[in-house]
């Protein structure tokens, strides 16, 4: 029989994971939508955010500084990566872009492994958010509850940047038609670089805020990357709302299936993706023009 307390608690876990996936996927999806590059190093950037935050935390003991340093560090990595390598791949075939970003991701993972070893590291939750909170009908770790709020705030910030600023307008226009945007006299390369930086920062931010929930390992990004792909396929490539909806769906599927039998979590996730591919090949919120 299903234990209802357990079920609700898993629903919350699904919400936390879903929000996390939504944030990481939005980073991936705005990069793809604007630049046309699927960044296979995105999982590694998520991992990098966690480790950068870990370093900042061990030096300062401040979680806030860890968050800021972690996100900014990954943003800078993203900017440099775009400037030095990705920029030269816009006119090359899709598969070259996939190969090069995959290779970069692998180098990041191995570099971190070299510096920090393969053993897992932990970042404790900030003291105010430590412990558990009673929700009346059940107890739930306080930090996980807060995490939903933190990620929601980050998604809101991303939404405001995308929908309320000039650069966001250019990005959204670029997703629809990047040729038109460049012919309007806008320096697309600068926009591309900024978008890559923002997308990377989303992954890095997710990496550090999630660090107290999981332990850090160099290849923690692999599993997240796979889940992110499923989210993007379900939501539709290039769609910000699609990433959020897809993220929540994927998070709940993983959590609820895990409660019954963890072995089937991926099978169910995959079944959902297949269903979407059969019924709506371009994803729930995707449009045909984005391919």
């Amino acid at each position: 029989m299903i234990n209802w307390g357990n079920f609700v608690s898993q629903m919350f876990n699904g919400l936390v994971l879903g929000a996390l996936l939504a944030l990481i996927s939005s980073g991936l999806t705005i990069i793809y939508g604007t630049l046309g590059v699927l960044n296979l190093a995105h999982g590694a950037m998520f991992m990098l955010g966690g480790y950068a935050g870990y370093v900042a935390y061990t030096y300062t003991d401040s979680f806030i500084i860890a968050i800021i340093f972690g996100s900014l560090f990954v943003m800078v990595v993203g900017l440099v990566m775009e400037l030095v390598i990705i920029r030269h791949f816009y006119n090359r075939p899709d598969e070259d872009q996939l190969l090069v970003t995959f290779g970069i991701g692998m180098c990041m993972v191995e570099l971190v492994r070299l510096g920090f070893g393969s053993l897992s590291l932990t970042v404790p939750a900030p003291k105010v958010l430590a412990g558990i909170t009673s929700l009346g009908f059940m107890f739930y770790p306080t930090y996980r509850l807060a995490l939903v709020g933190i990620i929601a705030a980050a998604l809101l910030a991303l939404f405001l940047v995308l929908y309320k600023t000039r650069i966001g307008m250019i990005v959204r226009a670029g997703i629809e038609d990047s040729v038109m945007v460049s012919s309007l006299g806008i320096n697309v390369y600068r926009v591309f670089m900024i978008v890559f930086g923002i997308g990377a920062m989303a992954a890095g931010f997710a990496g550090i805020v999630n660090a107290p929930v999981v332990s850090l390992t160099p290849d923690m990004g692999d599993a997240i990357l796979v889940q992110t792909f499923v989210v993007v396929v379900i939501g539709g490539v290039g769609s910000f709302p699609g990433a959020i909806i897809g993220g929540l769906i994927a998070g709940e599927i993983i959590s609820i299936t895990s409660m019954i039998n963890p072995g089937y979590a991926y099978v169910m996730l995959f079944a959902a993706m297949t269903l979407v591919l059969v019924l709506r090949p371009h994803g729930l919120m995707g449009s045909q023009s984005r391919g």
């Binding site: 996939l98 090069v100 290779g103 692998m106 191995e110 499923v230 039998n261 991926y266 993706m273």
Partner: protein, 618 residues
């Protein structure tokens, strides 16, 4: 290139495999390393057919490698199945069946979607192996005790257990794998796969069922992966669960990219470099865990600077040393200059060339208009590109379509060839309602189009281009003649030669398309549409971008093509068009404005109004 000397590659492969045990130990390769290289190499042959030849980059091949491996290992260790080779083949079949099912899902999309879906599928298989199927696969323990192959000949018994004796067994299967793969890539199916990599749009427009061929490539890759997976178990006497891991897929991709794709041998070379460096960096340089970082950096640098991998680099250096590249570039420039000067004289040959006989089709004997479109409308959101066009063309007619820019001419053509479905209306071709059919089916019925912007297979030669189109005509849209040589398909060589002669490219048959002059590319574009001897040929601005001299020659070419054929031509060169066609249709703002003979159209004040504006008022 690969066809020049029969069995040369096969012979060299055999020699290489025989010599390897005598040479490689001196270079520091242990027999077990060489054996692992062979298993990767065999796994990679199938992957190269999928990625290098068909252009489908899969990050999920481990799923199929593991499936085949565990299937064979289960039969041998748990089910008490005695015969190793049979078990390997059963594993291969299991993997091919799974590959077919996976392909059905993954191939619903292409490009990055395909890559993402294959990653996800790979991960699903990994988790399924660990959990739901743990009772059969041993979960994280894998399946130990996979027996070595042995053959009892009565008087003596051969056992291929480890080291160089196992090498003989693996090298034999690698050789078989290469021979089979070479047959496949030299077959019509191989030609279709290359066409898909180069230009999927045109591959389907010349009448190939590209989805079917992609699925074929996926299943072939799955079969290779499954067999190699089985060999992995045999080699290690243990089927490891990490065969299913993402890292296995990723290493395969990296090895192939390092070695060079599209050569079949790239993965073997890549695996050699990979495993050699792994040993070298770890043992000789004492780098420990950093070896993977070094390999990663090498991989990134190779992708950045050496697009076609080590083999591609060697070919480039060879060309540079022998001066082949310079010669090719010089030839290209010469062709450009010659074509611009008009010295090639396309017309001189066309007058006497044999005409392509019209192919017998189901629609033959049908009387009445060859094409009838009624109420054809296409809307893009609020914009009506075409509205309510009624259009009829009779057998043998030569029709011209004119109209100002933005009149909807190209959209109209796209609907007629079923590249885009009409919002409403009906298209009847030779009595068949073709509305909503695919461009491939329509091409097979005998309606083709030459594109306004060249859609060629630009990495292939002129002859290969035309061959691809002719193969679709003589074999139908899908046929699995994987072991047949292209020149053994009846009628292909003749039809290719006739088509080349008709568009006067016989002398340029073995030239890569990339180095053709513009006028020649334009003629090849028409040639591709002509290759299946269509009963109705649509030409979208065949004269666009041509010099006045080229125009004259091309008009002559079009006239010679039109013998016994129905053609519809869009062009802005009205002098040329009026001279060529019998009847002209004028489109304006997505509507049919007027139809008539060239003389009627020339004198028609409405047409003048449409083009110049304000003529009526004067």
């Amino acid at each position: 290139m690969i066809n020049q000397r029969r069995y040369l590659v096969e012979a060299l492969t055999a020699i290489g495999l025989i010599l390897a045990p005598f040479i490689l130990p001196h270079l520091g390769f242990a027999p077990n390393t060489v054996n692992r290289i062979l298993v990767w190499g065999l796994f990679g042959i199938g992957f190269d057919i999928l990625f290098g030849f068909t252009g489908l980059l899969s990050f999920g091949q481990a799923a199929l490698y593991g499936t085949g491996g565990f299937f064979a290992a289960y039969l041998l260790t748990q089910a008490g199945f005695p015969h190793v080779v049979t078990a390997l083949f059963l594993g291969m079949i299991a993997s091919a069946v799974v590959g077919y099912l996976v392909g059905l899902i993954a191939l619903r999309r292409t490009g990055i979607y395909f890559a993402m879906i294959t990653v996800a599928i790979g991960e699903v298989f990994y988790f399924v192996e660990f959990n739901p199927l743990a009772d059969w696969t041993g979960g994280e323990n894998g399946l130990p005790g996979v027996p070595s192959p042995s053959f009892d000949l009565g008087f003596t018994k051969f056992t291929f257990s480890s080291g160089w004796s196992l090498y003989i067994f693996l090298a034999f299967w690698y050789f078989i794998g290469i021979v089979v793969a070479l047959r496949i890539i030299r077959s019509p199916v191989g030609a279709a796969l290359r066409a898909i990599r180069d230009n999927p749009l045109r591959a389907s427009a010349v009448g190939h069922n590209i989805h079917g061929y992609k699925l074929t490539a996926f299943v072939i890759a799955a079969a290779y992966a499954g067999f190699a997976g089985g060999l992995l178990g045999v080699m290690q006497a243990f089927m490891p669960p990490d065969a299913f891991m993402f890292h296995t897929s990723a290493e395969l991709v990296m090895m192939s990219a390092i070695g060079g794709t599209g050569t079949l041998f790239g993965p073997l070379l890549g695996a050699t470099i990979w495993l050699f460096l792994q040993d070298f960096l770890q043992a000789a340089l004492g780098l420990g865990a950093a070896w993977k970082l070094v390999l990663g950096l090498i991989f990134v640098l190779l992708v950045c600077f050496l697009r076609r991998g080590i083999i591609g680099g060697i070919v480039d250096i060879y060309d540079l040393v022998t001066g082949k590249k310079a010669a090719r570039e010089a030839a290209a420039e010469a062709a450009e200059a010659a074509d611009a000067a008009g010295t090639l004289e396309p017309s001189s040959a066309t007058a006497s060339t044999p005409k392509l006989a019209l192919r017998a089709r189901e629609g033959d004997g049908y009387q009445g208009p060859i094409l009838q479109a009624t109420g054809l409308t296409k809307r893009y959101g609020g914009l009506a590109a075409n509205s309510d066009i009624n259009f009829t063309v009779n057998h043998g007619e030569l029709r011209g379509i004119i109209g100002p820019n933005g009149a909807g001419k190209s959209t109209f053509f796209k609907m007629l060839t079923c590249e885009v479905p009409p919002t409403s209306g009906k298209i009847v071709f030779e009595g068949n309602d073709i509305t909503g059919q695919s461009v491939t089916d329509v091409c097979q019925l005998g309606l083709t189009k030459s594109y306004q912007v060249n859609q060629l297979f630009s990495n292939l030669t002129v002859r290969e281009n035309v061959t691809i189109a002719v193969l679709a005509a003589v074999r139908g849209k899908f046929k699995l003649d994987m072991f047949r040589r292209i020149d053994k398909v009846p009628g292909v060589t003749e039809q290719v030669n006739q088509t080349l002669a008709m568009v006067n490219l016989t002398a340029r048959a073995d030239t890569p398309v990339a180095v053709l002059a513009y006028g020649e590319k334009r003629r090849l574009e028409i040639g591709l549409a002509l290759a299946n001897s269509p009963s109705l040929l649509l030409l979208d601005e065949p004269l666009a971008g041509m010099s006045p001299r080229e125009r004259v020659e091309t008009v002559k070419l079009l006239r010679s093509i039109s013998q016994g054929r129905t053609m519809i031509i869009i062009d802005h060169d009205m002098d040329a068009l009026f001279e060529l066609v019998e009847k002209v249709t004028v489109l304006q703002e997505g509507r049919l404005l007027v139809e008539g003979t060239p003389e009627e159209i020339k004198g028609n004040p409405i047409v003048q109004e449409a083009y110049l504006g304000g003529v009526l008022e004067q």
